[in-house]
Symmetry: C2
Subunit: 326 residues, 2 copies
């Protein structure tokens, strides 16, 4: 009797101590996640999902780390321009490179899509995949965010890291499905998020197989877009790389809508969640009220209509970053 | 003395029982595989490979199952033509569909690449990915090989299934890297080879995201080639889907050469192997002496020059199929 009592005591304490989402406040968002994981993985559950079918997909920018005031990868590309120009001095007086070199941020803010495409092509191709990995790694080790004065890889959302861990501990394979560059995200995804390179689906440029001067086989990045992994491109990218429909999908913008729709169209239990940036004190607020940005009133209405779960960063998250004092 | 003898007897029997490659004859090919696995996974080995980096890639047609007298997927496409024509009767009198419907095998053998492309496009696109999966599954359940009178999924090479199991038991992720259709191979890869859909890299057509009549999100297969996963396309496809260089690669044809070169260009221990079809009694012999086919004298010379291991089906494999009496 005493033994049973002690067992229960120890057991319930152990259970309380192991709240898998300690950075989340209790509320509908946390509840939806915990219940989804339970209902799809508990033996005997009518909505049990076979271990091999457990796929959860996560957008990256704005869903698992800061995307303001600029996508991290765009910052990388702009900061790579001097190194590119050094190798190709002819570019020095050619736009948009000239403006980037001038450091005129107001002028850069007016870049058109073709301008940005030229910068992306110049900084994300022309090197081997190994050289590119080394360049990104080096940049990430020192570049810092203008507001938070932290390495970009420190600007991950602690609550979302906990969600990813919970899913993996429950037998889910966690995937990034990002509009960002697949090769860029792969450089740090394993170390920062525990997501291995082969589980990163992103916008992907082509590579070209060839040989270096010594006859060694190499892959060179070329400026040809194979997959634009945004909006309709997200479910298409999921099919290309994963070949299974996710059971859970996390996003934060209109570019994630189709991924959530595709997830929801499957049978059984499915979890669709949107991170809502409504905390300008601790991070940023850019929707649904804002006219710009990636969230909108229309997306909020869509979420309501389709019973998607909206995560309020302000109300649902006890802390946002690991370095927050809380 | 007797005890020692008994011990040795028991030990050698136990050893024999746990030979991970029981369908292989002792020889350089078997030895190369067993030693590679040992040297890359044994703690303290100077060529130890971290578990997360353990990637092994396998070609499919001719490397892990029969590819003669015709690729299984091509048989599928030809046999799907009547169903396609039933839905689009206009095709009945249009070549190459007319010839397929006539059943004239001699005429079909003369199809040009554009003819085959038309047949592939008509039978591999136009349906949702779920519909396609269901069609292939149904076909595989009854279609039989003309010579062996077995389901195609029974025509896997037992020695290669053992290799895949050995790699997985040693912490390797096993991938298909096939010139065949990614979506086609995914239908049976998990059940037949233990390779999940997300670990199949193959020639991939695009899909198009949209909605069915009820507003449900769907992906439709469209006739646009995204990845031609053959020759140089193999390392390019490996980078696109996996994002890591393999430590071991198995192929059987000139279409696998670049994958083996890319594998070999990595540092540390790497294993490059080619299956040589030299057993017309139990399977087929089509090289290196043959002038046609996917193996050639040139590939054999290349293998020698680059110290790739050639597997003789005749000499290295005790049995070829699980149904062989042996």
């Amino acid at each position: 009797m005493l033994a049973a009592f002690l067992f229960l005591l120890v057991f319930s304490q152990a259970y309380a101590q192991t709240d898998p989402l300690p950075s989340w406040n209790d509320g509908p968002a946390k509840k939806a996640i915990v219940e989804f994981v339970k209902t799809t993985t508990e033996k005997g559950s009518p909505k049990f999902v076979a271990p091999e079918a457990r796929i959860a997909t996560f957008d990256q920018d704005g869903t698992t780390w800061v995307e303001q005031p600029m996508y991290t990868q765009v910052v990388y590309c702009l900061e790579r321009v001097p190194a590119v120009v050094e190798k190709k001095p002819d570019l020095k007086n050619v736009e948009p490179f000239k403006t980037v070199l001038s450091g005129n941020r107001a002028a850069m803010a007016k870049f058109t899509v073709p301008d940005l495409m030229m910068i992306l092509a110049a900084t994300l191709s022309g090197m081997t995949v190994d050289e590119f990995n080394a360049e990104v790694k080096k940049w990430l080790a020192s570049a810092k965010h203008p507001r938070f004065k932290q390495l970009y890889t420190e600007l991950t959302y602690q609550p979302m890291l906990e969600v990813m861990k919970l899913f993996r501990a429950s037998g889910y394979k966690t995937y990034f499905v990002t509009g960002g560059g697949q090769d860029f995200v792969r450089v740090y995804s394993e170390q920062v998020y525990g997501i291995p390179p082969e589980q990163v689906v992103g916008s992907a440029g082509a590579t070209h197989f060839g040989y270096d001067k010594t006859g060694k086989a190499i892959l060179t990045k070329v400026p040809k877009l194979l997959l634009n992994d945004d909006s309709a491109g997200k479910p298409e990218g999921i099919h290309l790389v994963i070949g299974r429909r996710p059971y859970a999908a996390f996003g934060n913008s209109i570019g994630d809508e189709q991924m959530l729709e595709y997830t929801q169209a499957g049978d059984g239990a499915r979890l669709m969640m949107l991170v809502h940036h409504d905390d300008d004190k601790r991070e940023y607020a850019y929707g649904a009220k804002s006219k710009v940005g990636t969230f909108s009133d229309a997306l909020m209405a869509e979420a309501k209509k389709k019973s998607w779960n909206v995560i309020s960063m302000k109300n649902d998250w006890k802390r946002i970053f690991a370095f927050d004092n809380k």
